[in-house]
């Protein structure tokens, strides 16, 4: 299932132990020869750029020539609270958390239905569910712009039917925090069902039958067996939405207005043409990266711990 399925294997599936190297190896391609190119590609175009951002964040590299030297000034001002950035970060976290939670709650029953209802067409239905995720991101955002605007589909439909007068459109629909959250939820919903589906689909139905033999009701079986066993998928799904949305800037810049302005927009603006401040922008970017790196590490640990318990 493309990007979705593949991304999933990263977190949900155990990284399979590599096959032991064949002992009677003749002209085998050596590991360094295989890994040289991909690893150096990421070293040059991923690690080095991040190091440069770090250099900018402590003023070792600067945009405008002039006296400069190593300083943590921009870092200090981020944490001192004298700048609005932490507040904006908190707002973005809050928006992303809400979107992730809602989307996971909606996706869970979808995944449950596909995995456990015994429908024969589950892979076809799964593909139908996920297909929109694989189409253009911008176009799906564009669709909502057309739908939600003051002259958009919803409002003109309301005028047309006389439910609302043209002088008073529902203007909170577009260019608001609501619009950003709706569109982000819409964009990520299909994808989120996937990790939950995988954990439920691989669930041993015998466990549910055992629960039922022991006189557990369906609800009890769900709460005591299914839900705990699908927890890794749920957490993965949650993070799969949370991680990309917390640094989001495209959707808020298209449908957010001022109310939906997010942390990612702030970073972009600091590197923009108006009043560039690469030092502060680098600090904000690295801070975001650090938070997400920590979250990812904690999550991978959580999965490992879960596997260890099962084993």
């Amino acid at each position: 299932l493309g990007a979705g399925e593949s991304r999933l294997t990263l977190e949900v599936a155990t990284p399979e132990p590599a096959a032991p190297a064949p002992r009677r190896r003749r002209l085998n391609l050596a590991t360094p020869a295989l890994l040289g190119l991909p690893v150096s590609w990421l070293a040059v175009f991923f690690l080095a750029p991040v190091a440069i951002v770090a250099a900018y964040s402590v003023d070792v590299l600067v945009l405008f020539p002039g006296p400069h030297g190593f300083t943590f000034a921009a870092w200090r001002s981020l944490f001192s609270g004298s700048t609005p950035y932490l507040h904006l970060f908190a707002k973005s976290i809050e928006m992303s958390l809400t979107v992730s939670a809602v989307v996971v709650v909606v996706a869970y029953p979808l995944a449950y239905f596909l995995a456990l209802s015994g429908t024969k067409r589950k892979y076809i239905l799964l593909l139908v569910l996920i297909a929109p995720f694989l189409t253009s991101y911008l176009l799906r955002v564009l669709a909502w712009k057309v739908i939600l605007g003051d002259q958009g589909v919803v409002n003109t439909f309301l005028f047309w039917t006389g439910l609302r007068s043209p002088e008073h459109p529902l203007s909170f629909l577009l260019y608001s925090r609501f619009a950003v959250m709706l569109v982000l939820g819409y964009v990520w919903l299909p994808f989120v069902a996937l990790p939950i589906f995988v954990t439920l689909d691989t669930l041993d139905r015998g466990l549910l039958e055992a629960a039922s033999d022991l006189y557990a009701s369906r609800l009890q079986a769900f709460v005591r067996v299914t839900l705990p066993l699908s927890a890794p998928g749920v957490v993965a799904a949650f993070l799969f939405v949370f991680i990309p949305t917390v640094g989001e800037f495209v959707t808020p810049s298209l449908v957010g207005g001022t109310g939906g302005y997010m942390y990612g927009n702030q970073i972009v603006d600091l590197f923009g043409a108006g009043f560039p401040d690469w030092e502060t922008g680098s600090v904000l970017a690295l801070f975001l990266l650090a938070v997400i790196a920590i979250l990812t590490v904690v999550f991978v640990r959580f999965l490992r711990a879960g596997e260890a318990r099962v084993a």
């Binding site: 990263l10 190297a21 590991t31 190119l37 991040v50 015994g118 917390v246 970017a285």
Partner: protein, 269 residues
């Protein structure tokens, strides 16, 4: 008795599933409807059927140029990332080496990096190196983004096939390149094609990182984004959007079905 769902539960969930599918496809349908609407603004009521917007975009050189640029970027980025991805996937599945965990983490890390951070990082790198924003810069960034996808699509397939087949070929005197070309590649081909198309469609469509790195030649998503600010261009943009969207949808579904069938056939053989 079904242990997972009661009859009513199943019915309710089927309805819920249908509602969500409608919610997911309705906005796409709205774009489709308005792309045939005569009025230049996308508002109700509909004013009549026209193909004008489709004709307009076919003659619009700006749009065609942007589509071409994106096609070039996607073609280069997908070939590059699949080549790197095959190398990395073989190393990670067939070899065991020191620091494997760290290398795996590095190779997959672009999956979780916020695109805004990757975009500005590359912007600063190219700024330091004195490289102008260009198609090449965009392509480099896209390869970073899609490389983990290609690895993750190819790796499970490599794990499925029997490593002893490649060993047998080498025992019979085939060199590593011959072994790859004659044994490994044919077996993993469905996954490689699948990875290639994922890489192609993803990099064709990618806006966030590209927006920091494009030069004078805009890619399609960058053009689309800028066109969204001019209401007069909206109908044409919607028309081209619909075409691109339907093409990707058809390609993705077709390839996925083909991959399943091809892998099943390889299993049977």
């Amino acid at each position: 008795m079904d242990v997972a769902l009661s009859r009513n539960g199943r019915r309710i969930m089927r309805v819920f599933f249908a509602i969500v599918i409608v919610f997911l496809y309705a906005p796409i349908a709205v774009l489709l409807v308005f792309s045939f609407n005569r009025s230049p603004v996308p508002v109700f009521p509909l004013t009549g059927f026209t193909l004008r917007w489709y004709r307009d975009f076919l003659t619009n050189t700006e749009i065609r140029g942007a589509l071409e640029t994106s096609a070039i970027v996607a073609a280069l980025a997908s070939v590059g990332s699949v080549a790197l991805g095959v190398l990395a996937a073989i190393a990670l599945t067939r070899h065991r080496f020191r620091g494997q965990l760290g290398v795996t983490a590095l190779l997959l890390s672009p999956l979780v990096i916020p695109l805004v951070v990757l975009g500005i990082s590359l912007l600063l790198l190219f700024h330091e190196l004195g490289i102008q924003p260009s198609i090449l810069a965009v392509t480099i960034g896209e390869i970073v983004i899609v490389l983990p996808y290609t690895i993750l699509v190819i790796m499970p397939r490599l794990q499925q096939i029997d490593a002893s087949l490649a060993e047998a070929a080498q025992d019979l005197g085939a060199g590593p390149l011959t072994t790859f070309r004659r044994v490994t590649l044919p077996l993993i081909l469905p996954a490689v094609v699948s990875a290639y198309l994922i890489a192609f469609t993803t990099s064709f469509d990618e806006y966030a990182v590209a927006s920091f790195l494009v030069g004078s030649r805009q890619t399609f998503p960058v053009y689309l984004y800028s066109a969204l600010r001019f209401p007069s261009r909206l109908p044409q943009v919607i028309a081209v959007a619909v075409v691109v969207l339907l093409v990707t949808l058809v390609v993705i579904v077709a390839i996925e079905l083909w991959r399943r069938r091809a892998e099943a056939r390889l299993e049977a053989a």
